[in-house]
Amino acid sequence: MRDDEIRESYFKYFNEEKLPFIQCKNCGHRFYYPRAFCPKCGSSDVEVRFSEGRGKIFAMTKIYRKDGSYVIYGIVELEEGFRMYSNIVEGNQADIAKRVEVIFKEINGKKYPLFKVI
């Protein structure tokens, strides 16, 4: 796939409420951030696959607003083995190692994957 295709395809899949990731068909490496070739072995033989959307919180922080409210930003580790940055919503129970699943919400008119604690 070309760089522009692979980058655009992510937004298309988000809109369909699918969470894509990339698997290298040469070395098997899985990664989330869209590249037209594998950052481990350099192969261009990569394919987009879809995650079940379940994982665990690997790292997180509560960012406080001046009014005392907060938003949670963190790194989620998906069961398929890749990690990604995201916001965690409905986060009263949120903590490192807590299980989460993907939900899709609109940010600036486009859908993006976020996570909620399950």
Binding site: Y10, F58, T61, I63, Y64, R83, Y85
Partner: protein
């Protein structure tokens, strides 16, 4: 070979950045006993929007030369954030040893006070190919990114808010003896913990305050009127982990673990440490990664040692950028200036007596992707 240096810092500089840069170059050249005509090499790293209102030079050392009428034999734009200036010193020493140039200016800083509430303004400059998939989220980089590391560190190792606060307290103590520090009134652990939580667990007093400022270092082989000691590079290492930290094995490590290994210097020979201090946790991560204490044990180390300039393990002896302010979001110039003050017995009010060896480590980029280890001293 560092024959002159200067740091000109201002909370809110009223004239243009180019004029603040001129003040810094003039002061450094005066210490060196050299003139503009002597400069035949230039290296620089300048914050975005520093010049002529809000303009960014595409190649700062070239455009600075154009403005100042410098005609260099070599130009190097070293840009991987705060530690870049430490690499410039290394490259300048090499260039002089190989005869590529004789007198090289190393410049880092910028004017950013006009951007303060707006420094993520829309531009085509991106700092990761994946900004569209990362910065779209509600986040506060780099504060939220370091806060995540601080929280994970405390979850894994039991590091406490009080232990992190100790870093801020001891650096402020050092700053209270440093006439150049912006924040000089002593603070307590309680003060730190009662300051606002910006991004949990980091409090306001654990976070650096951005200011305007430039640092200039003159590296030259010329035997000049400079009264500075003949400081050499005793060890050097750099390491770059370009992937987003989400793709690293773990975010509790920084590339300092590799840059320090490459420098491979016996820490028992070190008189003071100058460690990049964008946040309290940044200092603590480096203390572990350079090998001062093993991973996970820095909290106990902080409690059982005196890290002030009067103590057994002096760190950030001038109070660091947490207290001078951080020029153009980069602390490298602050720690390098302090290292040179200590080595030349010029650290007015906070001198560590008999300083012969200073160990510096810088960490760069919002996501801690770049580390430079530099050990300075007199080769005997």
């Amino acid at each position: 070979m560092i024959v002159g240096f200067a740091g000109k810092l201002s909370k809110n500089y009223e004239k243009d950045g180019i004029e603040l840069l001129k003040e810094a170059i003039d002061e450094a050249l005066e210490m060196a006993g050299l003139n503009y005509a002597d400069i035949d090499g230039i290296m620089a790293n300048i914050g975005r929007g520093s010049f002529h209102g809000n303009k960014t030079y595409l190649n700062p050392p070239a455009q600075i030369s154009e403005y100042f009428g410098i005609k260099p034999k070599i130009i190097d734009h070293v840009q991987y954030g705060g530690p870049s200036v430490l690499s410039m010193i290394y490259r300048a020493y090499k260039a002089i040893k190989t005869g590529d140039a004789e007198t090289i200016l190393c410049i880092q800083g910028g004017k950013i006070s006009h951007l303060k509430d707006n420094h993520f303004q829309k531009t085509d400059i991106i700092d990761s190919p994946f900004d569209d998939y990362i910065k779209i989220y509600d986040q506060m980089s780099p504060i939220s990114d370091y806060a995540m590391v601080a929280y994970r560190h405390s979850k894994l190792f039991g590091t406490t808010d009080e232990q992190r606060a100790e870093i801020a307290v001891m650096q402020r103590y050092n700053a209270s003896f440093n006439p150049k520090a912006l924040f000089r009134n002593p603070i307590t652990v309680e003060d730190v913990l009662q300051s606002r939580i910006v991004s949990y667990p980091l409090h306001l007093l654990e976070i650096v305050y951005p200011i305007d400022g430039f640092h200039v270092f003159v590296v030259s082989k010329r035997s000049s009127k400079s009264a500075l000691r003949n400081i050499d590079i005793l060890a050097y290492g750099e390491a770059h982990w370009p992937n987003p930290p989400a793709e690293w094995d773990d975010i509790i490590y920084t590339p300092a673990i590799e840059s320090a290994k490459r420098a491979s210097f016996d820490l028992n020979r070190v008189d003071t440490f100058q460690l990049y201090d964008s946040f309290t946790i940044t200092v603590m991560l480096q203390m572990e990664d350079i090998g001062l204490v093993e991973k996970g044990k820095v909290g106990q180390f902080v409690e059982s040692h005196d890290l002030t300039f009067k103590g057994d393990v002096p760190i950030n002896t001038g109070g660091g950028s947490l207290n001078t302010g951080q020029p153009a979001y980069m602390s490298g110039g602050v720690i390098l200036e302090e290292a040179l003050l200590q080595l030349n017995d010029m650290a007015d009010g906070h001198q560590v007596k008999g300083t012969d060896v200073v160990f510096l480590n810088g960490i760069g980029w919002w996501s801690r992707k770049h580390s430079v280890t530099l050990v300075l001293g007199e080769r005997k």
